[in-house]
């Protein structure tokens, strides 16, 4: 019994230590973002000046990141929902093979994909210079998450019976897709959407290579501030990023909990 107690205490201490390793720097950065002089500590006073300075310097990157994330979401929804339905319907070897192909972008480092995109489309000046170039990269990178999330939910509900029911009432294939399949796949679509927006907002590996001085995104701006700004400004900028992604993470966690109760693994 004593040994068990000791084991519990040791494991607890270890787990708390690891949690501290992850959380302490995040809290330090949040504090540093509102501290007048970080080297002197919080006793130097609290200020919102750094946040305003970040806003002056980097507001455009924040707006652009939000726009790109929403555009990425729109594209992945338009492409991903029909594709997931088709892959689920085809099933078998062919379906799995296509799924494998579109999941490949996750196995290839972002840097390599970015380089490949630049080598292919670098000559197309207007496209290369625009945010659309970054959008293309984000869509390729996030699409697998959307498709897999919807396929998972289609696998968990009885699509075939639902479709047969609708067909027996005379609904053509596209009506069955729009009125029966899509509404039933809503939880998967929602989970996929949250994932896509979160990933797009934080994407750096691809974006750093794809961006131009006029198409900087939030993570690109972050890297810029880490390299060239004082610690307080970099921290305030990071704080803004945290504030943007925390609601998304909380929503994802809530969906995850609900779906694990109903036995779905998204």
């Amino acid at each position: 019994m004593k040994a068990r107690r000791l084991l519990f205490v040791l494991q607890a201490a270890f787990t708390i230590l690891i949690a501290a390793f992850l959380i302490v720097p995040a809290v330090m950065s949040m504090v540093a973002g509102v501290t007048t002089n970080y080297a002197k500590g919080v006793s130097s006073g609290l200020t919102s000046a750094w946040i305003f300075q970040v806003w002056d310097l980097y507001a455009d990157t924040i707006g652009r990141s939000i726009l790109i994330a929403l555009a990425t979401l729109t594209c992945t929804l338009l492409i991903g929902i029909p594709a997931a339905y088709a892959l689920h319907t085809i099933g078998g070897r062919t379906g799995r093979l296509i799924e494998e192909l579109i999941t490949l972008p996750l196995a290839v480092p972002g840097l390599a994909i970015a380089l490949a995109l630049i080598l292919t489309y670098g000559e197309f000046g207007a496209f290369r210079q625009s945010s659309l170039f970054i959008l293309a990269g984000h869509v390729v990178f996030t699409l697998p998450f959307m498709v897999r999330s919807i396929i998972a939910i289609l696998g968990a509900i009885d699509v075939q019976t639902l479709e047969e029911g609708a067909a027996s009432l005379g609904a053509p294939p596209w009506r069955r897709f729009v009125d029966v399949v899509v509404p039933n796949a809503r939880p998967g679509i929602l989970a996929g959407s949250l994932m896509v927006v979160t990933l797009s907002l934080g994407e750096f590996n691809l974006t750093w290579m794809l961006h131009t001085p006029l198409t900087k995104t939030l993570p690109v701006g972050l890297a810029d501030s880490y390299a060239s700004m004082r610690l307080e400004v970099a921290s305030a900028y990071t704080l803004i990023f945290f504030i943007m992604i925390v609601p998304l993470l909380v929503a994802m966690e809530m969906i995850g909990r609900r779906s694990s109760k109903t036995g779905l693994l998204l």
Partner: protein, 271 residues
């Protein structure tokens, strides 16, 4: 419209995007990799040129070290969290999974705050030894960074499979007289092996391709993604950058494919 035609039609947008922005660019990458002065031999140069080979070995070593350490850490913490009920448990889980959505650059900054010049480690070391200890910009800083982004991913997989363990197997082992260590060694850890393979492969692939963290810490360590970046931007050696990227992509893809063929389902999310 017949159903088959409609289903085929549903795949058209996906087909166009994947072909135009993934398949075609990868073919181009492979082609450019072979377009330098050495032709196809550029792919061979990854292994024969000392600078590239050393970088490959260093990156592999770092990725393997990260993977093994993360698996150990995540197993201890994951078993503890899944097996014990105590106040603050869900807070602890939330803390351990919060960094899941941090991009590599942010992770790099976290390491700077922890172990940089103004960092916590530096302060503690000064109090203890009188000397400031700056780890962030060395290989150990990079290792800490990789550990930082791998732990949340692996811990979730490990916890999910601990939850699915069959408790009757452990009871049987205990009834047969096995002590806690024997139960862990002979029952729990073997049952968790598929989760180790799947999440280990993800941790490995992510560590191999991690660019943001290495970029922020920008130390003296020459990991492969940084070498690719340098070849492309500073040296303008585009064929070599392409060949190295292709080589790196092949290694990470092989790791994930191998893990999958061993029975785990693995999806990586590199930030």
């Amino acid at each position: 419209m017949p159903r088959r035609l409609f289903v085929g039609f549903c795949l058209v947008p996906l087909g166009i995007v994947v072909l135009a922005f993934f398949v075609l660019p990868l073919v181009r990458l492979l082609q450019v990799g072979a377009s330098g002065a050495d032709g196809l031999a550029a792919y061979w140069a990854i292994l024969t040129t000392p600078r590239y080979r050393e970088s490959l070995v260093a990156t592999l070593a770092l990725a393997i070290a990260t993977t093994l350490s993360t698996l150990i850490v995540a197993t201890i913490a994951g078993l503890f969290l899944q097996r014990n009920a105590f106040p603050g448990r869900s807070l602890l889980i939330a803390m351990l999974t919060f960094p899941l959505a941090f991009p590599g650059v942010v992770v790099g900054f976290m390491i700077i705050l922890l172990a940089g010049r103004l960092g916590l480690v530096a302060d503690v070391a000064r109090i203890l030894t009188g000397q400031r200890l700056v780890l962030a910009y060395s290989a150990s800083g990079l290792f800490l960074g990789y550990l930082y982004f791998s732990i949340p991913r692996v811990i979730l997989t490990v916890m999910a499979s601990v939850e699915k363990l069959d408790p009757s197997l452990e009871e049987a082992a205990r009834a047969l007289g096995a002590g806690p260590w024997a139960v862990h060694r002979d029952v729990i850890l073997p049952a968790l092996t598929p989760a180790f393979v799947a999440s280990g492969a993800i941790a490995f692939a992510t560590a191999m391709g991690a660019f943001g963290t290495a970029f922020t810490l920008a130390g003296r360590s020459d990991v492969l993604p940084m070498v690719i970046y340098t070849e492309f931007t500073l040296n303008a050696n585009i064929p070599m950058a392409a060949a190295l990227s292709f080589g790196l992509g092949t290694v990470t893809w092989l790791a994930l494919a191998l893990a999958r063929s061993l029975g785990g389902s693995s999806v990586a999310a590199t930030g």
